[in-house]
């Protein structure tokens, strides 16, 4: 309920009015899970802007995957991240004998739509860092799940890493066709990297 109100009253109006998203390829967004959205990560707003692309009835089933060490570091942030935004926390460092991806498998088996930022952290504005392999691990276990690549342009200008003042900018979102598991972790990661690079070059052609 709290989450629903948060997206209805704060996130959707904020993203629509203060920012304004021009989304291309909206038809590629999944209507139901399980599915994985993969996007570049330049700002805290990335996850919220992505969530706002979904209709409210779908949002309750969409979960950004976020770093536990950052978002669970104190009680208030933890409450906000888990109960209001609705993140699925994940450990960035592997610990022996513990499957860090287990909560993601559980959510996917529950037909969730996950939002993943495979760069691992917020990078330089409007660029793409090297992708981590977690997504490959997930797909090798759940090969039927579609992966939808998204490239955001403009959010790194609105609220870059280390800034707390939000400055309005129009944002472009480029959503690509779903990728399917190719059967091999390495080739899949290459395909995904290429696909995101292609969406990024669309963005640069416009700007």
């Amino acid at each position: 309920m709290l989450r629903h109100l948060f997206y209805l009253i704060i996130v959707k109006p904020l993203v629509l009015v203060i920012l304004g998203v021009n989304a291309r390829g909206r038809e590629f967004l999944p209507e139901q899970g399980p599915a994985i959205i993969v996007a570049n990560h330049n700002s805290h707003l990335d996850a919220l802007a992505l969530m706002s692309l979904f209709p409210l009835r779908t949002i309750k089933n969409v979960y950004p995957v976020a770093a536990a060490d950052y978002f669970l570091k104190n009680r208030w942030l933890k409450w906000f991240a888990l109960d209001v935004i609705g993140i699925i926390p994940i450990e960035r460092k592997a610990t022996a004998g513990k499957d860090v991806l287990a909560p993601l498998f559980a959510a996917l088996d529950n037909n969730a739509i996950l939002i993943l930022f495979p760069e691992g952290t917020r990078g330089e504005p409007e660029s793409m860092g090297k992708l981590k392999n977690g997504i490959g691990h997930i797909l090798s276990e759940r090969p039927d799940i579609p992966v939808i690549p998204v490239f955001f342009y403009g959010l790194g200008k609105s609220l870059p890493k280390g800034e707390i003042v939000l400055v309005p900018f129009f944002i472009d979102a480029f959503i690509g066709a779903p990728l399917l598991w190719s059967g091999n972790r390495k080739t899949f990661m290459t395909e995904l990297t290429d696909k995101l690079a292609q969406l990024q070059s669309n963005a640069q052609k416009l700007s």
């Binding site: 200008k157 003042v165 416009l206």
Partner: protein, 313 residues
């Protein structure tokens, strides 16, 4: 809103706008029915967006001063945001841009108060001095001149210029018995749009010699002259119903709007050409960005305002 409190001419103006929308919608639907093989999606989209534009305009002028000022302030906000999203900005200026945005509510507050003296100098003087100071405090000198120049120009065009439209609504109504509070604004917007459309039509039918090929290859001498003439004649015909202008003054107003509307149009074209984009944005489906629609008004609004302010207020 009290519809019957508006002068009959204003009521007619809105009925005409509504009528034009209905006709163009029916026309495009008929076209699509007659030629199912052709693609009229762009035209349909364009007309649908016109409905929205007229609805927002009606909201902006038909209720009360507060709503008017908020709607026009929001239009300036969208235009300024579109401008900043287009131009290259320095990362160091993040907070400077934030201050520039704050100029919008402040400027429209002067409009709401009808405080002419501050309205007219706030952005040209105070923001001109404040923004570079804020940049200097950050200390990034690489690209300083370009950053402050582009930022202030955008603020002038999208906020200062356009806020003159809203100021037309707070001028004393007693000076304009024919048009009441909203007559002047309807007159300005109507003539500016007519000028755009008639320059286009004259250019398509008679246009040969290009007038400014480097900036806007579609514009022709015939389109320009025909458009200005049409606007000037209509300005004189409509003036007694919406404005306090005499016939000769109205001919001058039409000439001013015709000429400056063209300049506003090609100025925004030059901006887009410099940045290598076709449209300034995509917020108005079928039209492009909000600056694509407001381009002529960035020139006609302040110039017409000062013309009428000098003559009658």
């Amino acid at each position: 809103m009290n519809w019957h409190a508006f002068p009959i001419s204003v009521q007619i103006a809105f009925l005409v706008m509504g009528g034009l929308l209905v006709i163009s919608s029916l026309f495009s639907i008929t076209l699509a029915k007659l030629h199912p093989d052709r693609d009229y999606r762009e035209l349909r989209l364009r007309i649908k967006t016109w409905w929205w534009i007229v609805a927002v305009f009606a909201l902006a002028v038909l209720f009360n001063k507060t709503i008017s000022v908020i709607v026009f302030g929001f239009i300036s906000f969208l235009a300024f945001k579109e401008y900043l999203s287009l131009i290259p900005t320095r990362r160091a200026d993040h907070r400077v841009l934030f201050w520039a945005y704050l100029a919008i509510p402040v400027q429209y507050y002067w409009v709401w108060q009808a405080w002419y003296g501050t309205f007219i100098i706030f952005i040209p003087v105070y923001m001109l001095l404040l923004l570079p100071m804020r940049m200097v405090l950050i200390g990034e000198t690489q690209g300083f001149l370009r950053a402050i120049g582009t930022l202030h120009w955008g603020l002038m065009i999208t906020v200062f210029s356009l806020s003159h439209m809203a100021y037309l609504l707070v001028l004393p109504a007693a000076n304009n018995p024919a048009g009441g509070v909203v007559g002047l604004l309807i007159y300005l917007v109507f003539l500016t749009e007519i000028n755009d459309v008639s320059q286009y039509i004259w250019g398509k039918t008679l246009g040969k010699r290009k007038i400014i090929p480097k900036v806007s290859p579609g514009k022709t001498v015939a389109g320009f002259l025909g458009g200005v003439a049409t606007t000037t004649i209509l300005a004189a015909a409509v003036a007694p119903h919406l404005t306090p202008l005499s016939v000769y003054e109205a001919l001058g107003a039409g000439l001013l709007i015709g000429l400056s509307g063209f300049i506003g149009d090609v100025t925004i074209s030059a901006l887009k050409r410099d940045l290598g984009v076709k449209d300034s944005g995509s917020i108005l489906p079928g039209h492009g960005g909000i600056l694509d629609r407001l381009d002529s008004l960035t020139y006609t609004a302040p110039l017409f305002f000062h013309y009428i302010y000098f003559l009658h207020y």
